[in-house]
């Protein structure tokens, strides 16, 4: 099925998201002695990453923003948000990529993201 639907009526795009494997590879590039990485916080989107050696050294928790829709370098992405009347929450859409990036869990709009409105 090319698209599935959430309770609030918006399609779910699972191609955009945080990858523990990519995070591990990135961290491993700086420290080849790493033996484990654990990731939590999938439900909230505020990922807590713990990594280090099995004997406890190097273990340090850090927080990684979901960041999939952030401006990277000088390349600005065409991101807008719309309000879903069913849930009352905002949905962020990357127009350039043609994907629904994320659904805000709390009330209010995303900061710094323009709200798209229906053209009259």
């Amino acid at each position: 099925m090319d698209c599935r639907h959430r309770q609030d009526g918006n399609a779910v795009d699972q191609s955009v998201g945080f990858s523990p494997l990519l995070a591990f590879k990135s961290i491993h590039a700086y420290c080849t002695e790493l033996e484990y990485i654990s990731v939590s916080g999938y439900s909230t989107g505020n990922y807590i990453i713990a990594f280090g050696k099995k004997d406890g050294t190097y273990a340090m928790p850090t927080k990684k923003p979901s960041g999939t829709n952030k401006t990277t370098g000088t390349k600005k992405r065409d991101v807008v948000q719309v309000k879903n009347p069913k849930s009352g929450n905002y949905v962020k859409i990357d127009r350039a990529a043609g994907t629904i990036v994320s659904h805000k869990k709390s009330k209010g709009p995303y900061k710094g993201v323009p709200v798209a409105r229906k053209s009259k």
Binding site: G9, A11, P85, R95
Partner: protein
Amino acid sequence: MIIYNPLDGDALTSSIPSNPRHCFLMTRLGAPVPDALINIRDVVTELCHEVNYEVIDASSRVTGRDFLLKIWRLIASAPLSIGICHEEIPAPTQANIYYEIGVAQALGKETLIIKSPNATVPSDFVRTEYVEFDHNFRNNFTSYLNSLSDQADHYELVADQLDRNPILAIDYLKRAFLISGDNRLRDKAQQLLVEAGLEDRARNSVEQLAANF
């Protein structure tokens, strides 16, 4: 949207005629139908007519083919599916209604449960919108029906942002069209198909089936 046949698992490759501004009602149809259910059905039908929605159910079409597939196609054809939850509905019938609500949600339809004050809704449906059939029912149900136009506007707005993802945009336009019945949305879907260079695909291709609603 690709719909898989529940009987053999293969994709449906024939188009499903749209029933814009229709409501698929899921309730007990076979006799004996309790008076309370007849009353709920009458009120729902009356209120739907007031906002130009027609009520259909599993007995509305005679196809001579499989009953389950007919229900799937009816659900897929309409924008709204309403299930009734009532203590006088026998358990097997109520189970069928819950199954059909699940099908409707998986197909991206608007769903609503109308429950009697004494009926208990299973935990999987606690987040599904419901309206109690009590003295406020007329107001609450009318208010729900009126809110559907906002949802159609939302679907069109999302589709407008997704022109780089034409099949998803077309699926949103289809949902907006089924709710509103606005033929302009059909034209918009065809335009998206042309702009994406997909208009030459086979008539029963995923792209053509999606856009010919």
